[in-house]
Symmetry: C2
Subunit: 440 residues, 2 copies
């Protein structure tokens, strides 16, 4: 991991290293002028590139077209029990798809419900159910004067949007290298209004951090004041490795079982970034009590999930091993893209920090405080769309205005290189502007 340097310095190709921190006002003005000229030159390229969202590239999607081709009337459209999957039924999902996710979550398949195409939708629905009906034995959260959620950040903007939609107050919690700051979390849990917590425990969005065994165990052992406290365990990137030495995440359900906290965690995953985003299958894993509670809503909400899509998936993937083999192909495509981003960042290694992720979909860059929005603006004006600065924080507010999430997966390497050239330049401009501002 790169750590921020005391001396804020920039490296320019063919240019001697200059310390922005020690530069005189005149030097900074001259530097800004030179950078602006380069900016105009890049802007003239009229780029139109998007590094804003964690979308797989077309070459990744090609990997799963075979799954569609293998799904036709030459295979049985029934399940192992001779149940016709073309018809209504099986509200928990097909047995085969529950087994597949059980293998991924490492839990019994009876603790898994496989739903529609979106794990985000399942998370939304769980929060919606907590709001309107409350947890098993609890009161509907809508009846409470205040509900708060802990949000380790930077984090996933769509989690935060769900809280905002339902009027749940978000409390940002610092992320450490091994997961969220557990001291901070334990402190907040003495407040009964704190009802839950978002976690992306593996290859976190956007930092690519995997929670350590110690942190997972601490989470499983939390003693929240609210007995309907829920950990939303969004394991979106469970198998999305980018390195040959992939991270390992402890099984939180085992630790919860040891600590008597079985009902505290609800886990989510999907094949969105394994097969097709939007056309994958999503699942939830939870304790028997929580599964029963979820069924109460699901049985009212729908007659059942799209079992043919589940069958299409299990016709190709039987278990976690099949998925792992498939994910290696994804990694081969993604590695050069992440390399392009990480290599480019070296040029600005003295004025920002980032982690080299072992997996996931992002590179999370921290600039000098107060520069992120300006970088986004400069990039946007020159045709490169970034995730809005602040989006990785509750209410879109990055107090330090320093975090930028780069999503390297969608554009081809060539375009990424162009985009990153611009990005690095914009970070330099924003940094010089910031220093000038300090001097004025």
């Amino acid at each position: 991991m790169h750590v921020q340097c005391a001396s804020i310095t920039t490296i320019r190709r063919g240019v001697a290293m200059k310390s922005y921190l020690t530069m005189t006002r005149e030097d900074l003005v001259r530097e800004k002028y030179e950078l602006s000229e380069e900016y105009d030159r890049l802007k003239a390229r009229e780029l139109s590139l998007d590094m804003s969202r964690g979308k797989p590239g077309a070459d990744q999607l090609d990997l799963s077209v075979d799954m569609i081709d293998k799904f036709n009337s030459s295979i049985s459209l029934k399940d192992g029990n001779n149940f016709d999957l073309r018809n209504y039924g099986l509200p928990d999902g097909t047995n085969e798809s529950r087994e597949l996710f059980a293998s991924l979550f490492d839990v019994p398949s009876s603790n898994v419900i496989v739903g529609g195409n979106s794990s985000l939708n399942m998370m939304f629905d769980v929060i919606s159910q907590l709001i309107s009906h409350g947890a098993p034995g609890g009161v509907p959260w809508s009846k409470l004067p205040k509900v708060k959620f802990l949000c380790p950040c930077p984090g996933y903007d769509r989690h935060f949007s769900i809280c905002e939609y339902f009027g749940i107050e978000m409390i940002p919690v610092e992320m450490n290298d091994d997961g969220p700051d557990m001291k901070e979390i334990e402190k907040y849990l003495t407040d009964e209004a704190v009802k839950g917590m978002w976690c992306v425990p593996k290859y976190s969005n956007p930092d690519g951090i995997t929670y350590s065994d110690k942190v997972v165990r601490k989470i499983a052992n939390l003693k929240p004041k609210a007995n309907d406290f829920r950990v939303m365990w969004d394991n979106s990137y469970a198998v999305h490795h980018l390195s040959d030495t992939s991270d390992t995440l402890a099984n939180i359900f085992e630790y919860c079982n040891q600590s008597g906290n079985d009902d505290m965690v609800i886990a989510f995953a999907s094949t969105s970034k394994i097969t097709f985003p939007g056309s994958g299958i999503a699942a939830v894993a939870a304790s028997p009590a929580n599964i029963g509670w979820l069924r109460k809503r699901i049985s009212i909400q729908t007659i059942g999930p799209d079992k043919l899509n589940q069958l299409m998936h299990t016709n190709t993937f039987k278990n976690a091993e099949d998925i792992d083999a498939h994910m290696e192909k994804h990694a081969e495509i993604l590695k050069p893209k992440f390399k392009a981003v990480l290599d480019a960042l070296e040029e600005i290694s003295k004025i920002c920090t980032w982690r080299v992720p072992n997996g996931g979909y992002f590179v999370s860059v921290n600039t000098l405080n107060g520069c992120a929005k300006r970088v986004e603006e400069l990039c946007g004006d020159a045709g490169v769309k970034l995730t809005p600065a602040g989006a990785t924080f509750p209410y879109g507010k990055d107090e330090k205005d320093k975090n930028i999430r780069i999503a390297p997966t969608f554009p081809p390497v060539k375009e990424l290189e162009q985009a990153m050239e611009l990005f690095c330049l914009c970070v330099k401009i924003a940094t010089v502007e910031k220093m000038l501002n300090k001097l004025s």
Copy 2:
């Protein structure tokens, strides 16, 4: 349509017509004994048949397997704008699927959102949104002391379950031959707590009634006290004809436009009983204001629907005409099944009433008051599962205990004939028991 006779009489094959109403106690006891003997004989067959749910039969599902076979990498997996449908995006659904439903709803495609696999899920979500956030400009219904819904009945049990789940008080409204009793509805609408109404306007579940032009116009012209009153227009059976002279339903959106009630109606449909139940595509049609309102939730809830399933559908069906041609094949399969049920009912035409539906999925039978539960029980004990008596009414309570919904679509004709033989016998037994009870 059959109407109930003043003289309650039964016809038995090879047995002279006997009037249960005028029978002496002794004759009724003898009759009951004879019916019981026949019941034991039928019970000995150890049937295991299900006429409880509106599930298509396997032969109907076979009609759409071709759609799966035609969906593979030999076709373009992009939309007309060259957008890769394998990836995230298009939260309103593909243009092509919106056009398809626009053609079915007879509205502009901009007024259509195509979602996941279940229109029931879309209805649930709309009610959920009204509860948690309220209609555009309105207060969340969860903040109100009381919310009531009008429920024309007999109706669809799953509509009623949604109301019950969200604590919405249901008011049963009588169904006439041309739709719900509008006088009754207008009367209730002076109550500001009455916030909505369920409608299955074409080939209604279970009666098979299509709302007349007059009724549709009256609904469009309602002046509810509550300005966030919503008509949940569940057009599930829009194209599900069973007769060569199919019913016609007026376009309620046109009438609403004329009456200035554009935002009052939200319509739903799906291909569940056109292609595959549970693996079809579902859609909502509504005014621009309501579509914008729906988008607010959808944009938080999900990144988008399963566009590959939408593409699979539009690769086979381009417009309403294609669907109509396909539905004729369904009708050919269903007609003999409905005929088997209707023919069998002739035997008990003097002790119950029913309508001959021009479409839809059910035959709705009304017994003598106080007999429906007993018929269900007798049938169940002898191996024929019926929709629970009362299910077609709010809270599962049929005050008159007389309505039974028969779903003829799933079992083969041979099994239907067996099931109906038992059903008719059970109606006779329940009727005789009822008469005996009256005499005692």
